[in-house]
């Protein structure tokens, strides 16, 4: 097994550099990290070509983000590369928390079977980026430009002018839209004079990738005040290729330059790993902030990922929320760019993802207070919780080593159509659609992979022997709308119901789809292109579905364009 070597991508001169005037492009994405790549792939799948600019010429140096949540994997499935990420990485569902040398808490993140993806897959960021790059190239619509640093951005009405510096000189392009995914320090955000407000956390952490042959179970292990690193926290995670991630709290007074010297790092790791053989592959010292921009849309410039919001890494909410940003933005920008929706739809990107960022920031702030207490009293309560947790189950639930990333439910989104009928369970308007095993043409598949990345309907026809005539006609008419809706019909296994040509039949293997969606015969769900629930009814009515699509795209009559 080889140690990962960063590839060096060749800088290629763009024909734009020889054009007499700045060439016009639909969309430029700035930053080819996981978020920028996901955004570019999503836009390409919606038919929109992008210019993807990156000031470097390789993938992530060091493993950096590691944990990809189930929802992220489902988004990557929609982008066409979830399987490659899941296969390359290490899936896990469980974790343990130790106080000193005693386990005080353990958790299982996904007790429910019948999901394609586990709660998390761990994979070094460089591998994720390699897979995304491969996928971006395969679309044929992503014009990747390495060693291309944006040094100026001017926004004046109909477009955004970018000035790009390269190894052989600078040139300009003009774009209809710019998606900024250039990371926590976001040079573009600073160029535009925009603020990212919040709190810088006064703590430092040592992060190391270690190659070792260890038989620890694939779980997240977190220690408070362990014997091998007293008075501080420690975290251990498995990644692909026998590479392990170790994160050690150092405190604010630690000297970052001193702490990243191998002579300093190796003895610290030796304390933790004992006599086990290991090789240090990469090391860094980081601190972090919990903050966000006030809004993520500024005219024709849209911010996503760390450029828009930053938080504690404990909880794996950084890259996961960034990929959800891209997921939310892709279809909206594609619709606005093609004239299918007014620009207001892009404000809903900001509204929905700001709300999601606030939820993530709240969890991040709470776990940060627990891991890095800001006052003596806070520390005393933290220690009291840990002491009680050794004996009392109630206190175990207060132990907070990072509440792990769960997808945002866009409950208050203006794009939702509120429930008119009674439903139980979590699939409320705004929720990301739940997965379930289904059988299609005798083949076992997954519900989410049978949905597209356009508006989709799900009509539940359990126990029906024929599709009612008006339902069949309504489903057919929705496919012909300006913004079409493709409907899948969900039935119990073995139901021989005849469906109109082109309508996919999903047999609800194990009845999990009906259970998860609290659906009965006649229930209809409308899903957005990002597979969030738009609305649902106990009975199908094409006209109501049509109205809901108009609302979800800011196309309702009476709205200004």
């Amino acid at each position: 097994m080889g140690v990962f070597q960063n590839p060096v991508f060749e800088y290629v001169r763009s024909p734009d550099q020889d054009a007499p005037a700045p060439v016009r492009h639909a969309v430029a994405v700035v930053g080819a990290g996981p978020v920028g790549l996901a955004a570019a792939i999503d836009l390409a799948q919606h038919g929109l070509p992008t210019v993807l600019l990156d000031d470097d010429s390789t993938v992530s140096v060091g493993s950096r983000s590691v944990c990809y949540a189930k929802r992220t994997l489902e988004i990557l499935d929609r982008l066409g590369c979830g399987e490659r990420v899941a296969r390359r990485g290490v899936g896990w569902n469980a974790g343990r928390v130790y106080f000193q040398d005693i386990q005080v808490y353990s958790f299982t993140l996904m007790p429910e079977p019948g999901n394609r993806r586990p709660a998390f897959v761990n994979l070094q960021q460089y591998y994720l980026e390699e897979i995304l790059l491969e996928q971006a190239r395969a679309t044929g619509k992503v014009d990747l430009r390495w060693k291309s640093r944006v040094v100026d951005l001017r926004q004046d009405g109909p477009g955004v002018a970018l000035r790009i510096e390269t190894p052989d000189g600078a040139y300009g392009i003009v774009c209809d839209w710019v998606v900024v995914c250039d990371g926590a320090r976001s040079p573009l955000r600073q160029m535009m004079g925009l603020e990212c407000r919040g709190e810088v956390i006064r703590d430092r952490f040592l992060i190391a990738d270690v190659l070792m042959d260890a038989d620890y179970p694939v779980e997240r292990w977190f220690w408070f005040d362990p014997p091998f690193h007293p008075n501080h926290s420690a975290l251990l995670h498995r990644q692909a290729d026998n590479v392990w991630r170790i994160d050690l709290q150092l405190g604010w007074d630690a000297d970052p330059d001193e702490e990243r010297r191998p002579e300093r790092v190796v003895p610290r790791l030796r304390q933790m790993l004992g006599d086990r053989e290991f090789e240090l592959l990469w090391v860094g010292v980081y601190s972090f902030a919990c903050r966000r921009m006030e809004r993520f849309r500024h005219g024709r410039v849209l911010f996503a990922g760390d450029a828009a919001h930053q938080m504690s890494p404990f909880g794996a909410r950084g890259t996961n929320s960034g990929i959800q940003d891209a997921d939310n933005l892709g279809w909206k920008l594609a619709m606005v760019a093609s004239g299918m929706a007014p620009v207001e739809l892009l404000d809903s990107y900001s509204d929905e993802r700001v709300a999601a960022a606030d939820e993530n920031l709240l969890h991040a702030a709470r776990s940060t207070e627990f891991i890095t207490p800001k006052s003596r009293m806070s520390r005393t309560f933290r220690d009291a919780v840990l002491l009680l947790a050794r004996s009392y189950p109630f206190a175990r639930r207060m132990v907070n080593s990072g509440r792990l990333s769960v997808p945002a439910v866009l409950r208050d989104s203006a794009l939702n159509t509120a429930d008119a009928d009674l439903f139980a369970g979590p699939m409320t308007p705004g929720a990301p659609a739940a997965d379930a095993p289904v059988v299609v043409n005798g083949e076992l598949r997954w519900l989410l992979e049978c949905l597209g990345n356009r508006f989709n309907g799900m009509y539940f026809a359990h126990g029906m022997s024929v599709l009612p005539g008006e339902v069949a006609a309504g489903i057919a008419s929705l496919t012909l709308d300006r913004i079409p809706v493709e409907t899948r019909v969900v039935v119990e296994p073995g139901n021989p119901i005849e469906l109109p040509p082109g309508v996919m039949k999903l047999e609800d293997y194990e009845d999990l789809a009906a259970q998860r969606y609290d659906a009965g015969p006649g229930t209809f769900y409308l899903l957005r292109p990002d597979q969030h629930v738009c609305t649902r009814w106990r009975a199908f009515d094409a006209q109501r579905a049509r109205q809901a699509v108009l609302r979800a795209t800011c196309n309702e009559p009476g709205r200004s364009d």
Binding site: R376, M377, T380, F381, D383, L387, Y392, F394
Partner: protein
């Protein structure tokens, strides 16, 4: 539910003595830890977040 602020302890003197006794021979730091554990145990016993909020507000009143 409303926070009970009317007299509710059958023998207030006895409870007070128990509380002081629990802290006997402890350093300030140890006492702080004991208090914190006690608060967490009692908070879990109460359970109702509205009652806890009222108690926190009442405790904070007049301090800062």
């Amino acid at each position: 539910m409303k926070l009970t602020v009317e007299a509710n302890l059958a023998d207030p003197d006895e409870f007070y003595a128990m509380l002081i006794e629990a802290h006997r021979d402890l350093s300030d730091e140890q006492s702080q830890l004991l208090n914190a554990k006690l608060i967490l145990l009692l908070a879990n016993h109460v359970g109702d977040p509205e009652v806890l909020r009222q108690a926190l507000d009442a405790a904070r009143e007049g301090i800062a």
